[in-house]
């Protein structure tokens, strides 16, 4: 696992809410409290969009690299299986002949 993957895992890891969070939310709902959500400004929105795009690109890159690595590993194992099998076959025949 490289640093990028570790960073992403850490950033996207599940985090438990603080104690009493559920009660607080339930209390506010029961009391009919209204929360005013402020829309981000145009500048903030651009930064958020850029950050989201960067995360997507990095995530995609990590995923593609992982896919390539797993495929390469499969090919390595197959190549060694064939090379080792042929060599083993030859070695067994030579042992037989030398006996």
């Amino acid at each position: 696992m490289d640093w990028l993957e570790q960073e992403l895992r850490s950033a996207l890891a599940r985090k438990e809410p603080p104690p009493g969070f559920a009660d607080e939310v339930a209390g506010e709902l029961a009391g009919g409290a209204r929360t005013v959500v402020a829309w981000p400004s145009r500048v903030t929105g651009r930064w958020l969009a850029a950050a989201a795009a960067i995360i997507l690109i990095i995530g995609g890159g990590v995923g593609y690299r992982r896919h390539r690595g797993i495929e390469a590993k499969r090919q390595v194992m197959q190549a060694f299986a064939i090379a080792g099998g042929k060599l083993n076959h030859l070695q067994e025949h030579l042992k037989e002949v030398s006996q």
Binding site: A72, H93, V97
Partner: protein
Amino acid sequence: MKVVRILTLAGGFGALLFGQQFKFDFDRLAAKASDTVDVSLSGSLLQLGARFLDGSDPDEAKVKKMIAGIEGIYVRHFEFKQDGVWTQPDLESVRSQLKAPDWMRLVGWKSVEDGESAEVFLRLENAKMTGVAILATEPREFTVVNIVGPIDLDALAQLGGHFGVPKLKPDKGGKKK
């Protein structure tokens, strides 16, 4: 046997031509084969694959250790549904490149009875092993392997009994060439 077809995307055509220590072009055989294994892994891709090998798995740990000094591995393996598809000129096209002073034929074996043969060549530079070539044929199989870099041949042969490739007990029909 389960059909296996691996097409290598990474490495590129350039790597196919320049990564190998000798040329092998078997388009004709590939077109007629029932099963084909085509592996071309150059240095960076090989090392990337090595990073995904599980060190706690005994077989993968062995492969990981062997890969450490290797720069590339190239395999062409064809299986056919009938005899006589591959010909001696196909074999000779590879064998003719494996000549001294670069290459040394380590060992060869041929069974007249079974129509099987196998040869191992070493590439030497300043008395150091820098590559291995394995040519193996059966009436319905044709295999060429080029490992670029030093490798422990005994350790590689020991892997032969793993990965679903059974260790073979030969018949009496074989003879050393």
